[in-house]
Amino acid sequence: MSGQAAPESLVIGVGNPWRGDDGAGPAVARALAGAPGLAVAECGGEPAELMERWAGFERVFLVDALVAGGRPGSIHRLTAEAPLPVVARHSSHGVGLAEAVELARALGELPSKLVIYGIEPGHLDEGAALSPAVATAVAGVAQAILDESGRRR
């Protein structure tokens, strides 16, 4: 496939692979490494870093662990078409993914299409592998991203 244009889609896995199912995002990015037409990256979720990574990409998939009260391994799909709910936080020292996305929106730095996949974690134990339900969800999200990015425009 040499001579092909640079990929238009980017997958960014957010999370800490050393904290059990928090590593779901990076696991999806690793599963998709080398897939044609897709670039992959892992990142801590800092606003400036996200904006720098996705600059120049038309379509971006963000994958992160997401606690919404569902069963471990549940998959949530959100888009950035409408503002994301930014919850009042009691910490200022870590910026949540939703805040990072909204900050990018305010700065006019959102990619034209931003899809967020959240995977409900089971455990966040230090040094633990992904739990079986989350490992299955990782494969599911990776496939969904392949399907979605193949079906373009």
Binding site: A48, A88, H93
Partner: protein, 431 residues
Amino acid sequence: MSETRTIEVDYLARVEGEGALYVRTEGDRVEEVKLRIFESPRFFEAFLRGRDFREAPDITARICGICPVAYQMGAAQAMEQICGVHMDAELEDLRRLIYCGEWIESHALHVFMLHLPDFLGYPDAITMAKDHPELVRKALRLKKIGNALMRLVGGREVHPVNLRVGGFYRTPTVDELAGIREDLVWGLDAAAEAAEFLAGLEFPDFEMDYEFVALVHPDEYPIIHGRIGSSSGIDVPVSDYDRIFTETHVVHSNALHSHLTESGRPAFMGPMARFALNRERLTPKAAALADRSGLGTVCRNPFKSILVRTVEIAFAFEEALRLLDAYRPIARPAVEASPRAGTGFGATEAPRGVCYHRYTLDEAGIIRDAKIVPPTSVNQPTIEADLHSLVQSHLDLPDDQLRHRCEQAIRNYDPCISCATHFLDLTVERG
């Protein structure tokens, strides 16, 4: 009958950790001011007991995600003192360099994303970004450069893994450091431009007669070395910290309060204190910026701490550039330390002020006792005194405006409540 009025904020926003504010006035008098810190105690000092002295920097790093280097460095210094380690000058310089990164990322976050919305009248940085996109872009880049410097020297920006007792596991190559030089040059200019904008903000007319406490050093603006100095003339080695400060537990806070033992006065630590006691040792461009910002020789208006922090951002860039340009390959990344029994002390200037550590080791190098005092914990009574005075002089304001002014007064201190919850030992005496 005098009227009772209460001003309450149940959850303080744009500060780190869980805190609340309670103010009660009776008629025209402020009767009660409580900065309530209800973040749970974290028991780090207890976790450290029984651990090998070499583990301390990796454990203390977890106390804070934004100023981990302060906790790592204080622990390492204390261990080095106990073990009789004499640090190589180039390793001390590298420590100062990573610490510059910590000041940059911590101050940039607070100045622009947490503190500035108060002055420009926005509820948060996201709303502010819509009207001031260039300023916010600049702030994000400043913070990112601070993070990059920490990653370069420390292996990663949050809880760095490359710092150890005696120095580092690996030292960066000259080429690796050269890669960040251009960003540092940009950062110094950007901080100077930002300072000019910030100097034009409107500041409430408010001054207090503070007792500033900071490290003081004859040759440098203090970061990792110095004696403990104060505006009333205290000048003692770090090992006297427990003598000059008395800690007490108050019911409304899970963080111990501190007062100066002799005078009974509260102390004010952080950028304003460093500046007041060390202004003449600022780097040249940062000193010129302080002049242009109208800071004078001492600044006693806590609302202007935003200007002092910005001067310190410029200082940290200028100092990082100096250290980077002088950097040569380092022969040994660490001085080996063999355990000894004893008690040692460490203190560095965390972004929020003096971060004090004391450890006792047994002959096998096992930690038997640990005490860590974060600057936010020390600043609590000073914050309460500010609030008391501020409310007393603004009783004419309606509740919502007064509440907002109080929240601003707390944010002047960039308090890190999670760090501050260092808790009293509980001793039960049964007669």
